[in-house]
């Protein structure tokens, strides 16, 4: 009765950007045993069209879909195997969401060590993309907090660790885009926090030079730091932005904030609203609603709204880390053709290249509702991991903006010549010939991967498009 739990469906899938939709056979195993037996049953069929694991589908591009092949949906398996409230180490199934983990562990005084801008991702997805957060400049990426993980590779089950014999497999899997096999479970080291609030400092900067120098000078004082950029601003305003930097609030800081009763009540209400997700976009408009005029107005308001002198406030974890989670399905606002998120990193010293790209963006009048700049800390050991020391910029761009495809190709050239790279987990349009230039460990990763999957069963639309395997 191995097939009893095999829950199979044919589904149209795309990434969060709603582009490049393909048809996939989706298997949703409801237990670890079902997962293992599903993999055994699927493997022979995967020879032709491949298979790939999928979490909550928040990656923007086509990395968690496999056209004509099999997608193993792990998001229904949210298992907390072990928790140690002394050390903060947990053992979870890879389908465990950051959201569920926070809801369970935050009341016990622990927070996730690294989180991207949404809590609706799985631990498996975070490993596969080696995600980074606003604390990357100090703490590095997600893979640094996995002491051990169990991987179901096509050639057998491996318990991989960051050091020792299995370290090669470990670092091929961290950032490996799900192509080394299915992570069944992982240990994760959480970080202790005293409160559920953040002390947030907000600084408005009038141009790119000021923004970069403020970030360079002050980032080390804050665990978290990120800047929003008005990418429609031109000339002397180019790169104007709002920098938010934060630390976890300590107990005395919250107590002093208690004196402002009304303010506190307001925050509580706002964060409650946000955590309940009262707003949700349920249908896709035929056209992009986040067009240039709206973005221009939004950017002006957002910039003016920020205090002209640096100020400090107390915010909830939800509103600081996950403002967009407040609007369910916000990706639909980009309309039927969807959008892409383009994120790149250029090493420190390549500020002129960063400026050039921002100039070209604003010159081309490409509006980005979300343009985010951040300083990265050290490189990850993940062979295909994205982070490296330097400046990283992420922009959301609607598909259908004229000439955008060509403009991004030009950015790729600039980035490659600066020895930077583009984030694969968000990609949906790179030219395959750029990958070896951006990811010098590609061949090493390929040879390790091929040993784990000699018949090449693992594949995704992204791996085929970028010719990774």
């Amino acid at each position: 009765m191995a097939g009893a739990n095999l829950n199979t469906n044919t589904k149209f899938l795309s990434g969060w950007g709603n582009t490049s939709v393909t048809n996939n056979v989706v298997i949703t195993p409801d237990s670890p045993d079902a997962l293992r037996s599903a993999l055994r049953q699927v493997a022979p069929n995967a020879l032709e069209h491949g298979m790939i694991p999928r979490g909550l589908g928040r990656s923007y591009g086509d990395c968690a879909q496999c056209s004509g092949g099999v997608v193993i949906d792990l998001s229904q398996q949210q298992i907390l195997y072990k928790q140690d409230i002394q050390s903060g180490q947990v053992t979870v199934s890879s389908g465990m969401s950051i959201d569920a983990l926070i809801r369970h562990m935050l009341p016990l005084g622990f927070f996730v060590p690294v989180t991207p801008g949404t809590r609706h991702i799985t631990v498996g997805g975070a490993i596969a993309a080696d995600v980074h957060g606003k604390n990357h400049h100090l703490d590095g990426s997600f893979g640094n907090y996995i002491p051990s993980m169990k991987i179901l590779t096509p050639s057998g089950i491996v318990t991989a660790q960051p050091q020792g014999e299995t370290s090669e497999i470990f670092w091929a899997t961290v950032g490996g885009l799900g192509l080394t096999g299915v992570v069944e479970q992982a240990d994760l080291s959480l970080i202790p926090v005293e409160t559920q609030s953040m002390v947030v400092s907000t600084t408005r900067t009038r141009d790119l030079d000021e923004l970069l120098s403020v970030m360079n000078e002050t980032d080390h004082n804050f665990k978290y730091s990120v800047a929003w950029i008005d990418c429609l601003a031109k000339g002397s305003n180019l790169g104007r932005g709002v920098l938010t930097q934060a630390n976890h609030a300590l107990k005395p800081e919250i107590t002093s904030a208690n004196n402002h009763i009304s303010l506190k009540a307001l925050f509580a209400r706002a964060s409650k609203l946000i955590s309940q997700r009262q707003l949700s976009i349920n249908t896709t408009p035929p056209l992009n609603l986040l067009n240039r005029n709206l973005v221009r107005v939004f950017n002006e308001v957002w910039f003016r709204k920020a205090p002209s002198t640096s100020t400090t406030s107390i915010q909830s974890i939800s509103s600081f880390f996950y403002p967009l989670d407040a609007i369910g399905g916000w990706n639909r606002l980009y309309g039927k053709r969807g959008f892409i998120q383009y994120q790149f990193v250029v090493p420190y010293g390549c500020e002129p290249e960063l400026r050039m790209i921002l100039e070209m963006l604003s010159e081309a009048k490409v509006s980005s509702f979300l343009a985010v700049l951040k300083r990265f800390g050290g490189s990850s050991q993940g062979l295909l991991s994205f982070p490296m020391p330097g400046w990283t910029l992420a922009v959301d761009i609607a598909v259908g903006s004229p000439n955008i495809a060509k403009l991004l190709d030009q950015f790729d050239e600039i980035i490659v010549s600066a020895k930077g790279r583009v984030y694969l987990a968000k990609d949906s349009r790179l030219d395959p010939k750029m990958i070896p230039k951006m990811y010098p460990n590609l061949d090493n990763w390929r040879s390790i991967r091929d040993r784990l999957d000699p018949k090449r069963l693992m594949a995704s639309d992204l791996s085929r498009r970028l010719e990774l395997i």
Binding site: F12, S20, Q410
Partner: protein, 271 residues
């Protein structure tokens, strides 16, 4: 695989000698397209087209239409163009050939159905006249349905079919060719509706008079265009849900007026 901007990486052309298909492929290889298979009846013609496309890549090594004067380097595209035998009339072998083409290319992002013959509109020659129908309609329907099977198996795909304004309202001057395109046009529109909302798209292209070897020596009609103009229109519709593409766009309005005319007047028009 297709990317977010609807730029195909692998293209199969059925009727690889078509001037419109050649112009389209020349533009596609300057985007993401790296694998092209030109299928048709005459290898010597196809090989010539393949060489011509390859030469155009080397000639356009550096994009020259940049609005910015930043120095960036674009390396030569690594494009592989191959040719294969395919005959629209040989319907019994369509399935076999097309599945071989898919096997050779791996995933096929775009299939262009470009074959077609004009015929000589001699209705004293029933056999010759029906061969126009056999190629343009039956052959195309058979090929499209074979491609569809492959697309269903790979989970996605995009089809571009060259119809004609001649099929929108059939004229007395070329009613054999016109009726073959009319049948094809209707088939494609029905299929597009059937496929709507799925991961497979079909775009029906309705060119007016295009300067190609098929129309060489014919009296030039109003709103005549070049194959490159059709290619531009095709590139624009890729990745979108646009199922009917007129070239030029004005043709749409001209045909709308012609369609309103009563037959008693229409038959008297010198077209």
């Amino acid at each position: 695989m297709n990317n977010s901007f609807g730029q195909p990486q692998s293209v199969l052309v059925l009727g690889g000698a078509s001037d419109i298909a050649r112009a389209t492929v020349m533009k596609l290889v300057n985007q993401r397209c790296r694998k092209v298979l030109l299928a048709g009846r005459r290898p010597e013609v196809l090989n010539g087209v393949a060489n011509e496309i390859t030469r155009s890549i080397t000639a356009q090594d550096r994009p020259n239409d940049s609005e910015h004067d930043y120095n960036y380097v674009s390396s030569a595209n690594n494009v592989e163009i191959s040719t294969a035998y395919f005959d629209a009339l040989d319907r019994t072998n369509h399935q076999k050939h097309i599945s071989e083409f898919f096997g050779k290319l791996g995933n096929v992002d775009l299939v262009i159905v470009a074959f077609g013959i004009l015929g000589d509109e001699n209705y004293d020659d029933p056999a010759g006249s029906t061969s126009v129908i056999d190629v343009n309609f039956s052959g195309a329907v058979s090929a499209i349905l074979c491609v569809l099977k492959q697309f269903k198996s790979q989970g996605y795909g995009e089809l571009v079919v060259l119809s004609s304004v001649a099929g929108v309202r059939v004229r007395k001057s070329n009613f054999i060719y016109g009726s073959s395109k009319s049948g094809l046009d209707g088939f494609c529109l029905g299929l597009a509706d059937e496929l709507h909302g799925s991961t497979i798209r079909i775009h029906t292209i309705r060119p007016g008079f295009i300067h190609t070897k098929m129309t060489n020596g014919m009296k030039v009609a109003p709103l005549a265009r070049k194959p490159e103009d059709v290619a531009d229109a095709i590139l624009q519709c890729l990745g979108t849900d646009k199922s009917v593409v007129w070239v030029p766009q004005e043709m749409k309005y001209m045909m709308a007026i012609l369609q309103l005319l009563p037959r008693s007047i229409f038959r008297r028009l010198p077209i």
